[in-house]
């Protein structure tokens, strides 16, 4: 199995390169030629690949000429489309970082291109591989919760711009926290309910990192689904930068017959480091990225969880697009295409 990682713009590229490098039976190559927009000091290109012990291709064409069975697209959000279309043109299955794109039009074009070429388009939503989410899904599927009335979700992290500046550049990222963090929980609910979002209300501000970036850094998004469930998602970059963890993802579901809580990243040993003068956290939970990559390359594991497909990525993108419209107008907005 030969896998190429296209672009190292996304902060997840490092984890993918390392995981693929260590997966038995997998050969990995990286290519990152479009680095002109990287901020000074960001390690990209050949140096990045070599730093992770991975072979490097100077151009994307070289990477495809190598004959990959699958590619992973880790470019800036607004630059996913050309790479996914390139994969479709080479008839190679593709896993695209989230969000699928920054505009619904781009997302639709990507889904259409992959469908026309007969290649699989998957979207990188690792949290659906969390055992905590699997437990939620089992409880809902078995009817233990009854009808789910409301969901409160929070996907908070620190603003990722120190590693990669483009995350808060609206041109490249499509926005800020709302674009970055709404889709993970939206994807879980897309998988959980198989229901369509019909209406979105969102409010944002940039009181966090004010003066440092212009993109929104805080957001609350309320989504009403056609099964009548209401979900409110905190997508804010509200996790302190100096905290030992990057952030986390939590969700509370209130059902008619049970209330459930999950935390995808709470399995940690907590302590305090005298050496570093700060809290110490030792995560011991399942590596969600690894589980996602295995499912993308080899199909669902024993729990049956598959990677999100392009259509699913497009549905979550439509929610984000409606959220931006709502944040601009201050009123609930109908979700297009449903």
């Amino acid at each position: 199995m030969k896998v190429a990682v296209l672009s190292f713009a996304h902060v997840h590229a490092a984890a993918y390169l390392t995981l693929l490098r260590d997966l038995p039976g997998v050969e990995v190559i990286g290519s990152d030629p479009d680095t002109a927009l990287a901020a000074p000091g960001e390690t990209r290109g050949r140096a990045f690949a070599e730093g992770h012990g991975v072979r490097y291709a100077e151009t994307y064409e070289d990477a495809f000429a190598w004959g990959p069975d699958a590619v992973i697209v880790c470019s800036e959000n607004a630059r996913h489309r050309p790479l996914v279309e390139l994969a479709a043109a080479h008839r190679v299955d593709v896993l695209c970082e989230k969000p699928l794109a920054t505009t619904v039009a781009d997302g639709e074009a990507m889904v259409a291109a992959c469908r026309a070429a007969g290649v699989r388009l998957a979207v990188a939503f690792p949290v659906r591989f969390s055992p905590a989410y699997a437990a939620v899904k089992r409880a809902v599927a078995a009817g233990d919760t009854g009808r789910v009335l409301t969901v409160s979700g929070a996907n908070n992290g620190h603003m990722p711009t120190r590693a990669r500046r483009w995350f808060a550049d609206p041109e490249l990222a499509g926005g800020g926290a709302l674009m970055d963090h709404t889709v993970h929980i939206a994807d879980l609910l897309d998988d959980l309910f198989a229901a369509h979002a019909v209406e979105v209300y969102a409010q944002t501000n940039n009181l966090l990192y004010e003066g440092e970036v212009t993109a929104e850094t805080s957001g609350l998004v309320t989504v009403v689904y056609d099964n009548d469930t209401v979900a409110t998602i905190d997508c804010s970059w509200s996790h302190p930068r100096s905290h030992p963890a990057w952030g986390g993802l939590e969700m509370t579901l209130v059902g008619e017959h049970a209330t459930l809580e999950m935390d995808a990243f709470d399995q940690k040993v907590h302590g305090h480091s005298e050496r570093h003068g700060r809290a110490l956290e030792l995560p011991f939970g399942v590596d969600l990225d690894a589980a996602m990559l295995r499912a993308f390359l080899y199909g669902p594991g024993p729990d049956g969880m598959a990677v999100a497909d392009g259509e699913g990525g497009l549905r979550t993108l439509r929610i984000v697009a409606a959220a931006y419209a709502s944040a601009r107008t201050g009123a609930p907005v109908a979700v297009a295409g449903t």
Partner: protein, 356 residues
Amino acid sequence: MPPLHIGLLGAGGIARAHLPGWLELGARVGVHTQDGSAEKLAAEYAARGHDVTAVPTLPELLADCRAVDICTPTPTHKDLALAAIAAGRHVVCEKPLALTVADAEDIAAAADAAGVRLHPAHVVRYFPAYAAMRDAVVRAELGAVAVLRFTRGGARPQWAPWFGDPAQSGGVIMDLMVHDIDIARWVAGDVVRVHARTRGVEHATGAPAGVVTATAVLTHASGAVSHVSGLWGLPDQRFRTTFRIAGADGLLCHDSTAVPGFRITAQGERAANEGIPSSPMTESPYLSELREFAASWDDPAVRPRVSARDGIEAVRIARAAVESSRTGRAVELTTAPAAPPGPAPAPAAANVEPTR
């Protein structure tokens, strides 16, 4: 200092939370209800040597007290408060102050005209974790506050049927979430836009009653946003409140069930779900609240951390959330709140003196 003689109206759950506080403050308490429960409550306390007596009529109660503490179902607040104010008594009134903004404003205007104090009993401001969090925000410990989350949930109240009738209690938003709506405004300032949704069984008819839950997003004038969620849940839903306050310079989180200080880990059988939250590790927040209210009657320099206007604004925001939930639209609170009938308006949180 005049003797502290309190006229307690009601003998239900919240009256039972307030009564020990009044007694701790050295008060003599007369209790009046219309269903005979005052006699039972008074007898219970008198048997333990406390100066608590049942008073058969409202005029008798009003004739012989310094202040009235209204712990009755919400729809009765206005008439009882106006009667107490007409008798020249200070008024402590359980939250929500009233079911409508107009009623809340009428009560406050009457108190102002009569020169008596009106204290909406938003007791969460006296819960030590909330007070500590708000003090930290006022000290600018978190920098500009950006995103606030509040949750509050427990078993659906079944001890009095009026809770299950939204026409009387206002439902989960007006009765339960009004606590955190008040805290959100206390911490992040006035609210300009509200969006809310309610799900589940609003009218409690069955036994046990169905679950009802609501979610509200408040937009503050500062630009900060608050998520407030409330749950009247299943019979085994443990009472729990949480907050997470994120600012540019830091983060504060609290989970009431995570830090009890003391817990029973086994007792042979499962304990019944508690209704009124209590913490054996700190002073009763009800006592702290009543002490601060009573102190302000003797010393004009004492300004309780919750004002009449705060009570009105909590009703205004909660009402907007109910309206949003009903119509599906976001509700703008664009008009600056009317000049408060009470003393000076509370300034935005960032400019307020610490609570203690």
